[in-house]
C-alpha cells in the first residue's frame, strides 16, 4: 500500500494519454459486459423455459407450416396432454412501424397449454364465441390505449384476404397478463385461427406450428420421436423439439449470437492489448531517467518491475470495472427491452479476470524493459 502514491502518480504522469487509454478500456469492457450479458442472459432464459412443452414444426423450414389435419393425430400420441397451434399473422396497427406480435390461435386449447396466462374465464369464453375476437396483453393495451369492446383495424403484411383487403377488423374481448412467459418474446396479441383461415386468400388449412403439452417431461424425447414418426415419409414431415431447444433454434436462425459476440469481444480485447501495451511502453520510455533515479535510491529491479505492472493493473482494472459497471447500468435501464436479461455475476467476474490478465500481458514487456535500465547510462542521458 505504501507504494500506491508512487504508482498513482506514475499513472497520471500524462493525464490526457491515460484518460484516452482508459476510455478505450472502458468501451471495450462495456462491449464485453453487454455482449456476454446478452449471451449468458439468453442461456439463462432458455434454461428457464419449459421442458414439458414440445414444438412441432415443418422439417423443411419453420415458415413452411403444417396441415391443420395433423392436430387430431398429434393429440392421439400417448403422453400428450393437450395440443394447440399458432400461426404468425405479421400484424401492424395503422402503419408498419407499429408492428404487433399477432398470432392466430385456437382459444379452446391455448390456455390449457399455457396455464400461467392470467385472464378471466369469461373473456376466454367471449373469445371462443366471437369470430373476430382478439385478446391482447395488458402492456399492448396500455401502449395503444385499447380496452375491451374496442374495434381495431388490424393490418397484415402477409395474409391478403380473398376480397383483396389486408385489413382484418377485430374486437378486443380480453386483456391478459403474460408476465409468466418471458413477456419480451412471448406472443402478446391473439386472434381466432378460424377467422384468419376463412378470410385469407392462400395458405388455408395450415398452421405455423403445434405446441404440445405432455404429461411427463422425462418422456419428451420419446414423445417427440413418436410424433415425428407419425408423419415420416409424408409430404409434410415434422421436427419436434422441446420449447427450450426450439427457442434456441429460432435464435440460431438470426445467427450464431454466441460466435458473433465472442468474435467482437475477442477483436476488441486483442486490439486493446496492443493499445495498453503501447501506452505502457511509451510511458516507460519517457521515464527512463526517473526509473534510474528510483534504482539509484535503492529500488531493486523486482520492485521497479512490480511498480510498472501495478500501474498497468490499475489502468486496466479501474477502467475495466467502470466499463462493466456501465454495462450493468445499461442492462438495468434497458430492462424492458431485454426482458429478464441482465449481465450475470459470472460475466462481471470473468471481466475482472480478463482485465487483470490484460494488465499483466500488456504491462509485462515494458516492466521487463524497466529492469534492464543501466543506471549509469540512464543518468548520463545515454
Amino acid at each position: 500500500m505504501k507504494y500506491l502514491g508512487l504508482v498513482w502518480a506514475g499513472l497520471w504522469r500524462k493525464k490526457v494519454r491515460t484518460i484516452l487509454t482508459m476510455l478505450s478500456v472502458v468501451v471495450a469492457f462495456l462491449l464485453f459486459g453487454l455482449l456476454q450479458g446478452i449471451n449468458l442472459g439468453m442461456d439463462h432464459v432458455f434454461q428457464s423455459l419449459n421442458v414439458d412443452r414440445l414444438y412441432v414444426q415443418s422439417r423443411i423450414s419453420m415458415s413452411d407450416g403444417l396441415p391443420l389435419s395433423y392436430l387430431k393425430q398429434i393429440r392421439s400420441v400417448p403422453g400428450v396432454r393437450a395440443v394447440t397451434h399458432w400461426s404468425y399473422f405479421g400484424g401492424f396497427y395503422q402503419n408498419v412501424q407499429n408492428n404487433l406480435p399477432v398470432f392466430a390461435i385456437d382459444a379452446s386449447t391455448q390456455f390449457a397449454v399455457y396455464p400461467k396466462i392470467k385472464i378471466p374465464n369469461d373473456q376466454v369464453a367471449a373469445m371462443r364465441r366471437t369470430r373476430t375476437g382478439a385478446i391482447v396483453s395488458a402492456e399492448i393495451a396500455a401502449r395503444y390505449g385499447w380496452k375491451i369492446g374496442d374495434k381495431i383495424p388490424l393490418q397484415t403484411s402477409i395474409w391478403t384476404m380473398k376480397d383483396g383487403s389486408d385489413t382484418y377488423p377485430v374486437d378486443i374481448v380480453g386483456i391478459m397478463d403474460i408476465a409468466a412467459y418471458n413477456a419480451g418474446s412471448f406472443p402478446a396479441f391473439y386472434i381466432n385461427y378460424e377467422y384468419l383461415d376463412e378470410a385469407r386468400a392462400f395458405g388455408n388449412g395450415s398452421v405455423l406450428y403445434y405446441i404440445v403439452s405432455i404429461d411427463d417431461p422425462r418422456r419428451g424425447s420419446a414423445i417427440s420421436a413418436a410424433i415425428d414418426a407419425l408423419f415420416a415419409n409424408s409430404s409434410n414431415e415434422t421436427t419436434t423439439q422441446t420449447e427450450q431447444v426450439f427457442a434456441q433454434s429460432q435464435i440460431k436462425q438470426v445467427g450464431d449470437i454466441n460466435l458473433i459476440a465472442n468474435s467482437i469481444v475477442g477483436a476488441a480485447l486483442f486490439t486493446l492489448l496492443f493499445l495498453t501495451g503501447n501506452t505502457m511502453m511509451q510511458s516507460v520510455r519517457e521515464r527512463i531517467p526517473e526509473l534510474a533515479v528510483l534504482k539509484t535510491l535503492g529500488f531493486s529491479d523486482r520492485k521497479v518491475l512490480a511498480l510498472i505492472l501495478l500501474e498497468a493493473v490499475f489502468l486496466c482494472v479501474f477502467a475495466g470495472l467502470i466499463g462493466l459497471g456501465l454495462a450493468r447500468m445499461a442492462f438495468l435501464m434497458m430492462g424492458s427491452l431485454f426482458g429478464a436479461l441482465s449481465p450475470p455475476a459470472l460475466v462481471m467476474e470473468t471481466g475482472l479476470g480478463i482485465a487483470i490478465l490484460l494488465a499483466v500481458v500488456s504491462g509485462l514487456p515494458p516492466a521487463w524493459r524497466s529492469t534492464r535500465i543501466n543506471i549509469v547510462d540512464a543518468l548520463a542521458g545515454r
Binding site: 502518480a9 497520471w12 526517473e290 533515479v293 539509484t296 535510491l297 535503492g298 529500488f299 543506471i375
Partner: protein, 230 residues
C-alpha cells in the same frame, strides 16, 4: 581517522560500441569516516566513474572496493541496491526529483524501502525539509520550486534515511552563486554537525574549497590530493 572507503588498484573499463575504453587505471584511495572530499579534474578524467563506483551504482572491472569493511564490488545487483538504500545519499547536478510527486513525496521515496510506518515517514520527511529550510514547501511540485530549492529538496531526500555517506555529482553545477553557496553550507553543516562522509565531484574551485580534502584526477589517475588548512 578510520578509512570509511578503501579503493585498491581499481580499474574501470567501458565498452563503447566495439571499443574498450579504460577510464580508471589502477586507482587506489582511502577516504576516512566523516571526511568531506571534493574530486576535481577535467572532463573525461574519470570523476563521475569514480563516484559511481563508490556509490555502488557500478562495479569495477578489477581491483577491490570496500565500504565500512564490506566488499561492495562482490555484491549482486539486488544486494547492492539494498546496500545503497541503507548507506548512500545521492545529490545530482540536475536534482533528479520525480516531477509528478510533491516535494514531501519526493523526500519520502527512500523511506518507502524501510519498515517505517506512514506516521513515522511523515515525521522524518517534515524533519528533513525543516533542516533544509523548506518546511513550508512540502506540497509544492518540483516545477513550482527554484533550482536552489529543488536542490535542497534533493538534499532532504538524500539525508532522510540517515545514510552515512553522501555522494554529490556537481551539486552546484546548475545553480547561481548565491544558491550554490547555500547548498555548500548545507553540505558542510551535514559533515560538521552530523558526521556524514561527503564525496563531491565538482568543476568549481570555489565549491571544492568547502571540502576538507581535495582530490584531482587526470586521465584516470590520481594526480594530487591536498588537505585544506583548518
Amino acid at each position: 581517522m578510520n578509512p570509511a572507503i578503501r579503493l585498491n588498484n581499481i580499474v574501470k573499463t567501458y565498452i563503447r560500441g566495439r571499443q574498450k575504453v579504460e577510464v580508471l587505471h589502477g586507482l587506489s584511495l582511502e577516504i576516512g569516516q566523516g571526511e568531506f572530499i571534493s574530486i576535481m579534474g577535467p572532463s573525461g578524467s574519470g570523476k563521475t566513474s569514480l563516484l559511481n563506483l563508490i556509490a555502488g551504482l557500478d562495479t569495477p572491472t578489477s581491483g577491490e572496493l570496500a565500504v565500512a569493511g564490506e566488499r561492495i564490488d562482490k555484491l549482486s545487483s539486488a544486494r547492492r541496491a539494498a546496500w545503497r538504500a541503507r548507506n548512500i545519499g545521492f545529490v545530482f547536478q540536475f536534482y533528479n526529483l520525480l516531477p509528478v510527486l510533491s516535494a514531501g513525496r519526493n523526500v519520502e521515496v527512500p523511506l518507502l524501502l524501510t519498515r517505517l510506518t506512514a506516521a513515522q515517514r511523515r515525521e522524518r520527511v517534515a524533519a528533513a525539509l525543516q533542516l533544509v529550510g523548506l518546511a513550508d514547501r512540502s506540497e509544492h511540485k518540483p516545477g513550482e520550486l527554484s533550482g536552489g530549492q529543488q536542490q535542497r529538496v534533493a538534499i532532504a531526500r538524500a539525508l532522510v534515511a540517515d545514510p552515512s555517506i553522501f555522494v554529490c555529482d556537481e551539486p552546484t553545477g546548475d545553480l547561481d552563486r548565491e544558491s550554490a553557496e547555500g547548498i555548500l553550507q548545507l553540505l558542510q553543516m551535514l559533515n560538521r554537525d552530523q558526521g556524514k562522509t561527503i564525496i563531491m565531484v565538482t568543476h568549481d574551485p570555489l565549491a571544492a574549497n568547502h571540502a576538507t580534502r581535495q582530490i584531482y584526477l587526470d586521465k584516470g589517475l590520481l594526480v594530487i590530493t591536498a588537505a585544506r588548512a583548518a
